[in-house]
């Protein structure tokens, strides 16, 4: 998903860092659609132009965002339950 957009972002990142650091870029295919001050503005523009199609919105920054979800990735969301209680879906 978004292979074209991500490759285009990587190709252009160095240039964009000089001009648009910390702004949000909207990319569709191999085209930079626009640069925005906030994620919200970029989303609004993306939805206006492309509806529910996919497009890339990313902050222009040197450091890649690092996502850490330790409980999920280590399988510890519900580790070691000592009581068999009702599923949260059935809790009144």
């Amino acid at each position: 998903m978004l292979e074209q957009e991500l490759a285009f972002y990587e190709q252009n990142l160095e240039n964009w860092l000089h001009q648009y650091a910390d702004k949000f870029v909207l990319v569709k295919g191999e085209e930079m659609v626009g640069v925005y001050d906030t994620n919200e503005q970029a989303l609004t523009a993306g939805a206006s132009l492309f509806g529910l199609e996919s497009y890339l919105i990313r902050r222009i920054e040197k450091v890649t965002e690092e996502i850490r979800l330790p409980a999920l990735t280590l399988g510890l969301l519900y580790a070691n339950p000592s009581h068999a209680i009702a599923s949260p879906r059935t809790i009144a």
């Binding site: 989303l43 939805a47 509806g51 529910l52 996919s54 919105i57 990313r58 996502i67 280590l74 969301l77």
Partner: protein, 161 residues
Amino acid sequence: MPILHTQLPAQEQSPDGKSSAVSPAVVLKERGPIVQVMVGIEQNIAQQLLAKGLSLPEPVAGVALIDTGATSTCIDVGIAQKLNLPVVDVVSVVSASHADTKQNVYPALIEVVGIAIKFNAFRAIGVPLAAQGIDVLIGRDLLQHCTIFYNGIVGSFTLSI
């Protein structure tokens, strides 16, 4: 300022099929701070779709776990697909135990049921959660706008925004 105060009741079943109440403190310890939520299309996108005369998919009901260990909010990938949410990025999820995985990012609206708490999650990570009985992980990207008080002694927690 909307304030959600929750104490979860639950029943446990013995091997012979008899039910008995479980103390809220035990429930909170085992299930964690969970809230009922509705997941829908992010508000800015919804407004644009409505302006084009398009209809919006019905929000999906689910259970959210408040996860202070998670840097980012996550939604079950099945819900993202059901809502036909657009993919707006692909990110690497870092793991200590195995290779990083690539996951899609979706813009979503997460509303806490029964109280006026709405989160515009611009960058919710799509991950398989449903098998674990939850649909949303509320991570620190949204919790940075909240206060949360966890009272493990009486088995309650309070969330406000």
